[in-house]
Structure formats: C-alpha cells, structure tokens
C-alpha cells in the first residue's frame, strides 16, 4: 500500500513497466507484461479498473469478458493505482520518471518502459443551445445511467455519430426513457456498407442486433443530425435536419457526441510522433520514442477487441522473452481493417462544419463564442486573444471540436498535462526516499 505522505514529499514507486490507463488495452498490456515476471504498475484516473468503455459503455453489469480480464490482471501481480492522473513525465538516462496527482498526493514512478493506454474522449461539436441543461454527452448519459439516475418517462433524442450510440440508446430505452429518435449523421449507404462488412466480426453483429432490438419502436435515422437545441432555462426542443427537411422535436434530454478523440497529450509530452491526432506506432506497438509503447484507442479508434489485442502484443513485446503469436497478429490485422471501415463509414459530413453560429458558445469554461475565435490564424492566437480552451479543462472539451471546425493544428503540450495541485507540482523526493514496497523483491529479477 502507499506510504503516508509527509509534507510535500512524493511517494516513489520503482517498476520495470508503467502502464498509463486501465481500460481494456492497459489491462491486457499490464497483464501480459506482469505474467512474464516484470514489475508492472498501472496508473488510472478512474476509481475502478476498466476504463471508460467498461465503466460507461457496457450498459449493465461489467461484461463477462471484462470480468475475465480484470481477474487475470489481479492474478498477474501488476499493481493498479486508481484515482491517479499523470501530470508530467521526464526521461533521464534509461529511465522515465512520471509525476502523478494520486488522490491529491504526489506520486513519482520510475520505470524503464512506458505503455501508453490513455484511451479516448468524446468529440463534441458545438451548436446553438448545446450548453442548456438537458443536453449531455453520450458517454455522460451512460455514466448517469450507471450511477442510478432515472430517465423514466423522459423524452430523449440520441444524436451524433458512431457505434457507441447504439448501446446508449438501448440502455436508455431499458431504463424507461421515451426514445424519440436516434439520429446518425452518416449516410445510410455508408452505414449499411459498414454493417455488411461486419461478417468479419460476427460478435459485433450479434451485439448490434441485440442493442437495436431494445429500441425497435424508435426510428434509427441515418443522414440526420441536430442543428440547434432550444429552451428558456433548460432543454425543451431540438431542431433536426436530414439536409432536405428540417423539423422540431419536443424533448427533455438530448444525448450527443460525434465519436471519439484519442488522448495523445502524454504521448506528445514524451515527444512521440502523432499523425492525424493519433499516436504513431509500429507493428510491435512501439512509438517513435525508445521504450515507449502505445496501445488502444490512443493509437487509432478501433474498439475494445482491437484494444485488447494491441495490449497483449505490447505486454509481450516488453517481456524478457518477447514472443508474439501469429494468431494475435492476424487478429489485429483483421480488426484494423474493420476499424478503418468503421472510421470511413462514420466520417463526419461537411455540413457539420457550419453547425455553430457566431453566437454559439464554444468554450464553456471561459464563455467564448464561435464568432470570437473563427477568424483566428491559429489555435494559439485564439487562445491568447479570447482565452478559449484556457479554463480548468484546458481545452479538452472544446479544442477537438474547434480543430475539426477550423482545421487548427493542436497547440504545444507542456506539463502539467492535467490540472495538478500546487503541492504536487512542487513536491520532491525526500533525500532518504525509499521506493515504496509494492512488489515482492524476487519478482523483478526476471527482467535482465
């Protein structure tokens, strides 16, 4: 267990491998690495193992496959530290030193390898009224459902893009919500082509059919999107369009999101190359920085099965007797094809670039309107002149949407990459700091 902190001293953990993120990719990577005898520490922001997907998207009890993996992880000897966000990382000699805010205390982790499994977050595109109470993210709605919030009797529209809308719509229908419409912005032909290609991944077809069955009475409209939300103090109605016809629907709740954005801030701080906002990795999941690997959604949105396989591969690559089975590589290749098909099918339509009007609030933290930023020459200029993306969330919510709308390149990354207590940033290791005992001393010796 972690040693109590004295003053502003940081706790130190020394490991062979530090895995950042305990979603499916991080779990698989940590499990395989720890099974090989390495000392593995997993740092996760959440309070439970499983990441966003198993925490929020499963729409019910933790799925059986997830339970199996979580059990394997706990048997593997990897140590998971929850409530911990990584704020900085430095590279010294052959070792990385990670600084984390661990439930308000400073934690430093030294490790020879890092596996980034930082996942993804929802992409929001701002439109008039999106800040009204009653409008929420698709993932946010799922989180509310899991925490016991009731949508019973509420008129709900789920609008946006991507396969994640299906399980959320199913959960909402299950919980008694009056689901009025599920609006997918992608064209019908593209979605159908994608669905037809799913024979490569039969489990997904079954799953999708099961979700769809739960809200059969509701229309699933492709080529349809919400352009504005209306209401005095809270959401009362939304404007919906399919490009030909535009109409109003009275609603209590709008769940919206346009897919996922990889979390690449830590990778960029480490100096890893990124391309199209995704961490670049080779066939062994290695990034362009030595001893840094990356897995899961942060290397490209591909879903849970692909994340697990990438995690397994990375966990094996760092193992003393690295051996990757051909079966794993073949499975990854097939799933990568499916992932590309999915991204193509749900590509965002051009019309969405004109969703916000001049008066639309784009940054809720700093109350900045679209009109104030749309003529900026770059993200940095907009930030300096208007404070867009400079509030407590540091642009995590608004900047990906603005990057999409205005084709901005992401600004530079500096520590802390997440807000951190001043006491954490100013913490130092005590002169006599000893690594806290997390590992059985004989375990690490397998790694030579």
């Amino acid at each position: 267990m972690m040693a109590p902190l004295a003053g502003t001293d940081a706790t130190l953990i020394v490991a062979d491998v530090a895995v950042i993120g305990a979603g499916p990719a991080g779990i698989a990577a940590a499990t395989r690495a720890a099974e090989s005898g390495l000392r593995v520490v997993v740092l996760d922001r959440g309070l439970e193992t499983g990441g966003q997907i198993w925490r929020h998207m499963s729409g019910g009890p933790v799925p059986r496959m997830a339970q199996r993996w979580i059990a394997q992880l706990s048997r593997s000897g990897a140590q998971v530290i929850h409530g911990t966000s990584v704020v900085d990382v430095q590279h010294e000699d052959a070792e990385f030193e990670i600084l984390a805010d661990s439930s308000g205390s400073a934690l430093r982790v030294r490790a020879g390898r890092i596996i980034l499994a930082t996942g993804a977050r929802e992409l929001f595109i701002p439109f008039d009224g999106w800040t009204l109470p009653g409008v929420m993210g698709i993932g946010g709605a799922q989180a509310l459902l899991k925490s016991g919030a009731s949508f019973a009797g509420k008129r709900v529209i789920v609008a946006g893009s991507g396969p994640l809308m299906l399980p959320v719509a199913a959960s909402l229908a299950n919980s008694g919500a009056k689901l009025i419409l599920v609006a997918e912005q992608a064209r019908r032909s593209a979605v159908m082509r994608f669905a037809a290609g799913l024979w490569r991944a039969p489990a997904l077809v079954v799953q999708a059919a099961r979700y769809r069955a739960r809200f059969l009475s509701t229309s699933y409209s492709t080529g349809t999107w919400v352009t504005a939300a209306h209401g005095a103090d809270r959401l009362e109605s939304v404007t919906v369009t399919n490009g030909r016809r535009t109409w109003r629907e009275a609603v209590d709740v709008l769940c919206t999101g346009y897919g996922l954005v990889p979390n690449i801030e830590l990778a960029r701080l480490l100096g890893c190359d990124t391309r199209d906002a995704v961490i670049v990795v080779d066939a062994q999941q290695r990034t362009t920085v030595a001893n840094v690997l990356a897995v899961g959604e942060a290397t490209g949105i591909g879903g849970e099965p692909l994340s697990l396989i990438e995690g397994e591969i990375a966990g094996s690559v760092v193992s003393p007797r690295a051996r990757i089975s051909d079966a794993l590589l073949r499975k990854r290749a097939a799933l990568e094809i499916a992932a590309r098909r999915m991204l193509d099918a749900f590509a965002l339509r051009q019309e969405l670039r004109s969703l916000p009007t001049g008066g639309t609030i784009v940054c809720r933290c700093e109350d900045v309107s679209y009109g104030a930023v749309k003529d900026a020459v770059c993200a940095r200029q907009a930030k300096l002149y208007t404070r867009v993306g400079m509030g407590p969330c540091q642009g995590r919510t608004c900047m990906p949407g603005l990057d999409f709308l205005l084709a901005w390149q992401p600004d530079t990354v500096r520590p802390p990459i997440e807000p951190a207590l001043v006491s954490v940033l100013s913490s130092e290791l005590a002169d006599d700091a000893a690594a806290s005992i997390l590992f059985n001393s004989s375990v690490g010796e397998a790694y030579q």
Binding site: T8, Q381, L384, Y385, P392, Q394, A420, V422, E428
Partner: protein, 374 residues
Amino acid sequence: MTAHHDAVVVGAGIVGAACAEALSRSGMSVLVLDASFAGSGTTAAGMGHLVVMDDSPAQLALTAYSGRLWAALAPELPRNVEHEACGTLWVAEDDEQLEAVRAKQSVYADSGVATEILSPAQLAEAEPHLRPGLAGALLVRGDAVIYPPNGARALLQRAITNGASVREGVRVNAIGAREVIAGNERISCDCVINAAGALAPELTPGIPIVPRKGHLVITDRYPGFCRHQLVELGYLTSAHTMTTESVAFNVQPRATGQMLIGSSRELVGWDGSINRSIVRRMLDRALDFMPGLALASAIRTWTGFRPTTPDKLPLIGSWDEMPGLWIAAGHEGLGITTSVGTGQLLADLITGRAPAIDPAPFAPSRVLAGVGEH
C-alpha cells in the same frame, strides 16, 4: 513598390504597439510589421503587472511616468484588457526588510508615488492567506494589472484609429538606411523603429540584448484568495543580479479569480522548455509566503523571454550606426508597464518635442560606449 511611410515599426509586441500609438497620434503615417501576430512574443508570456520599480533612478522615472500614462488610459481600455487597479504589496519578511520598505517609501515619495506602510496586522487583514509572522509591507495603490496580449491589441487599435496600418505574418529580413526589407518588398520610410524585443539584435547587430527566460504557473479560479499583486522585497535583487538562475515570490490575482505564480530568471539562451526544478523552486518560494496555495489547482505553466540589457534599462532612442534607425527594445521584465512611457518618449524624441522625463539614461549610445553592469 510599397507606399512611403513616415515610420515603420518592426514588432507588434506591446512596446511596438505603444510606439505606433504615440507616433500616429503625433500625426505620422505609421506601418507596423510583425513576423507572427500582435502580442505573440514576450508580451504573451508576461504577467501584465503595471508596477513602479526603483532599481535605479531612471527605472523609477520611466515606470512612474508610464504608470501615470496607464492610469489616464485605463477608463478608455476595452474590457478584455482586464485592467484591475489591485495595487502592489511589497512584502517584508523581517525588520531588516522593513527598514528597506521605509527607504523605498521615501524614494517613491520623491517621485510623487503615494504609498502606505502596512503593519503585520494590517497586512494580515489585507491578505489573509499570507503566512503569519511577516514584518509588514509597502502598499502601492496606484499599481495595477492588465492582460498583456489584449493590452497590445488595444494600443494597436488606437494606432489604427489614428491612421496607422498593421501587417501581421510579415517577417522583416533586414533593416537598411531608411528602409525595411521584408521578403521581396523594400519599404521606404523616414524612420524605422526596431521594437523586436529579444529578437532586436537579429536586425540590428551590436545591440546587447539577451533573452532571459522566465516561468509562470496559472491556477484555477479562487476569487478573493489573493487581492493585491504580492511581491517579496527580494524581487528587486532577483531581477537586478545577472545570475544564471533565481526565483522570487510574485503572485498576481487575475480578474477571473485565477492566480499567476512567478517568478524565475534564467540565462539559457532560447530554450523555452519547462525547467521542472525551477518550477519547483518557484512554487516552494510561493508556498513559503502563501502556504494555502498548496491546495490550489495549477492548470498550466509556460515560459517566455525577457529582452535584457547589461544595465537592465531599455534602449530608447536613435541608433547612430544607421541613419533613420531608432530602437525601442530591451525592457526586461517591465515592458508591459514601460511600453506606454517608451512610446511617448520615443515619439517626443523623433518629433523634436521636449520629453517628460530625461531620455539620457535610455540612449542606445550608452551601450556603444560600453556601459556594463553596474
């Protein structure tokens, strides 16, 4: 061939913007050029403290003069400049520093700057989150803070209203005799003002300006936690002495309720990366004075480069090596404050009016004469 201008200002930081404002107000036709966009260099990184400082009589004269100009300007500034008349508290840790506070008070009084000395109890009431046991403080009510990038833009906007034009994204390759060369363009003019800050030596070789790096940390919003700009008395020593690195306690309340935590000084060339050990030392110093900051959430850090001269005074005046060339650069950590004084002084010199303060200490020729650190 571009039209002829009376003056071309190179650099749209806050100093270049203030020069353009003052020159255009004097009736000159002014063109401002910037390689990037207005306020994007040192201006963007600065704290925005409008402060009277007394490291030298000349510094005191320029900062006090500039303070008066800012105060006159304040009611006309757009809201996004976030002018807040929060005052400065120079905090004394012990009786020896309190003696220095008394000396400071009389020096300020001689320059017409009103101050008050706060007892430990008054200090605790004014700033409840400072640690107990401090000896007192000097309160300079006239000091203020602004948001620097928008301060620069507001001055530029006034220049534009006076008829000036501004071209951003135009990199000046060379400054010649009464002309500026930018890409394939030769822009002719009666005078060129090199206001390129820490980059000024690239265009005018021989200017002894070096970049002096600083770090800042900004917190989430804690309205009322800190009410004045708080500076330790030792700050002046940190700013004056040209050591390789130093830190000093310097915390500023922003209009948003956020706090800026500074300050640091390093001579490391143009390396803009975050130096973790300096950030730690800086935060430690801040925690020493304000222990409650430990539980504040820090949301961002950044660095910037102060254009620093050997005697810590800016270069304001003609550059005799090149006909028609004037310098307005080298403002170290005081450029936001002294921008408006610099602009007015330079405009007075160029148009042949009598300046309000003695220009001699700022004359660029002093560095040609080899004035070193004093």
